[in-house]
Subunit: 373 residues, 2 copies
């Protein structure tokens, strides 16, 4: 690390350069690091990217689609994208073919690495804004997993008042990220804390804890043994640890399990067969994959053989997808068709969007008010 | 974001490639992202970096010094560095002149952007390891700052038992990152939570809260108005908020202020003139800069004019540097010379290292046991 004198001098030099330039269009994205002027968002949600790379041959931004940046004489590359949908989007900077995080952006664990993210303002949507309401904490907690024989971590949201109301006990939502993400997904990309802060303060959701787990256990992702390993991890390690270390109400009526995409598959796998543990289940942008017929049929057979118990136990089965998803949308509809055949009730809606965080934020916003009633 | 089917397939493809290759030397760094095989650390602490970049002309790693990587026919660039000192080091990947975070590494906010970090194993040093002891939480907390008129965030460490012992009150260490870092520095790079977990469990430090602030307020860094703005922020926003929202013991004998590098300057500026607020002060790798004579003389004049009150109030003034630092070492020694002239007592030690996190972890490890006695 460079000495701070150098850092201070560089900061001052930067300040001088900035003040000598014309004020550019748009506003810096809120996901930029401190003082980064680009990427900038225009009023119509187009985004201007700018990268200084005099020696590079080829600079691209990958934001759903790839944009080629153009270089000026000073070696500064720029592009203005098409209008972007509201909410959070992952993106990458590609320098001469190497896909990396943009140094001007905060980084988020997604796409199985630290990736850049851009928050596009959403007109008329304020349910995940930081408002002047009581705020809960997000805590980072390490626990020893006997299942994996290693120290692991979850994030846990405790609602405002948790520290003060020391006799109150709370129900718990266990929530799972998607493939290539980790326990930070629902906290940073998902803004689960702000969504709950706002819902609770408006009286629209019950106060609850949210345990944001790291479901990257086992091997082979959704196709390997990770489904089984994660089921063991949550049932025998995470839930007992949470119930021992936090003031929580126990029993299935005080536990919900939800997940998005790959986490939705893990929710189907663990949740549908453990309704004595979880009475509320949320499956976002998911459904058995076309090449998972073994797992799918195993699940449907279990449901058929235990249908009365299942119907008696389950209080809410909640399904949602993005209406523009090419994979999860049909997978979820196949799931519903089979649930219909089994006479299983569920709530379903779709949200105008792809396989992205704006959809999942809305899913949590719709799901949380239905819990623990 | 790509759909999870693609991610799963790519993961499987990766698994096949890995198993078909020879097992490489060394072990992946613990700071790597999940399943990243490089960078790898050899038994003698040299580090092997590997980057796939067929189209790049020039790939470097900047780890204290710059290393040029060499490309093979498959477009894979590699280098084995010199042996690295134990502990955490920032590094950058430079692709055709653009300095970015290595996609294979976790990212840390440092050098005023998301940077890569590598944890080099430290033989015989285990005070910041994750051990089988009770663990506290690190919480992310948002508060509204009247000083900056914006929502801001700190991280707060609550020790093991904080949730259970609901009548116990705790003293508070307020701790500040260095230039180009933020509130995450002491948590992620510093491992402050594990240091305290281990010290507390060994009976070597009192249970305390640690508030890890974001001191990036005002403008111009250590040379601008940030010193004054941060002083207002901590005294009128952060401390009252902490004392209202957490179970803390109040009064100067229950508050410590410490910081590293630029945070050490902020500690000198705010701490020395507010011993009625903080009875314990820690200044790590710092001392007035050669071009800060105005601030320095103002501080010494204040101390001279208030010397009896200062001596009466202060319980510990703790100074530390890395013995191989070129800037902070003489700055700190100038400070001590002036303290000597004023008859002010302090504790000082230096640690074999440069202006880096291994020094600051050791500083906290030595400082924390002296607090709140």
């Amino acid at each position: 690390m460079k000495h701070y004198i150098l850092i201070v001098l560089l900061s001052l030099a930067g300040a001088v350069i900035i003040s000598a330039q014309n004020t550019p269009e748009g506003v810096p994205a809120t996901t930029n690091i401190t003082n980064a002027r680009y990427p900038r968002i225009l009023p119509d949600s187009r985004v201007i990217f700018q990268v200084t790379a005099p020696q590079a041959k080829n600079v691209q931004i990958d934001l759903h689609k790839k944009y080629d940046l153009k270089k000026n004489e000073a070696g500064i590359w720029t592009i203005t994208t098409d209008p972007q949908g509201p909410g959070f989007h992952y993106y990458s900077l590609i320098i001469d073919g190497v896909s990396v995080a943009d140094p001007a952006s905060e980084s988020f664990y997604g796409m199985s690495r630290m990736a850049s993210g851009i928050e596009v303002p959403a007109k008329g949507i304020d349910y995940y804004d930081v408002k002047n309401v009581p705020h809960g904490d997000i805590r980072s907690k390490f626990y020893f997993s006997k299942t994996t024989n290693s120290w692991r971590r979850f994030l846990i949201y405790t609602p405002a008042g948790y520290d003060v109301n020391t006799k109150e006990k709370y129900p718990v939502l266990y929530i799972i990220h998607g493939g290539g993400e980790d326990e930070t997904g629902w906290a940073l990309q998902g803004k689960a804390n702000f969504i709950l802060d706002n819902l609770v303060s408006a009286g629209k959701a019950k106060k609850m804890l949210i345990v944001m787990v790291d479901a990257n256990v086992g091997s082979g992702g959704a196709m390997g043994n990770s489904m089984k390993v994660f089921r063991d991890e949550i049932l025998t390690d995470i839930i007992p640890f949470v119930e021992q270390n936090y003031r929580v109400s126990t029993g299935p009526e005080n536990r919900a399990l939800a997940g998005l995409s790959m986490g939705g598959l893990q929710t189907l796998y663990t949740g549908l067969t453990n309704t004595d543990k979880f009475a509320y289940i949320g499956v976002f942008s998911s459904g058995w994959l076309p090449n998972q017929t073994d797992l799918a049929e195993e699940s449907y057979t279990y449901l058929k053989n235990n249908i009365e118990m299942f119907k008696k136990n389950i209080k809410l089965l909640f399904l949602a997808t993005g209406s523009q998803e090419d994979g999860a949308y049909p997978n979820c509809h196949n799931l519903m068709k089979r649930f219909d055949e089994l006479g299983i009730k569920y709530q379903y809606y779709d949200y105008p969007g792809g396989h992205t965080w704006p959809v999942w934020r809305d899913n949590l916003f719709k799901f949380a008010p239905l819990l623990f009633k």
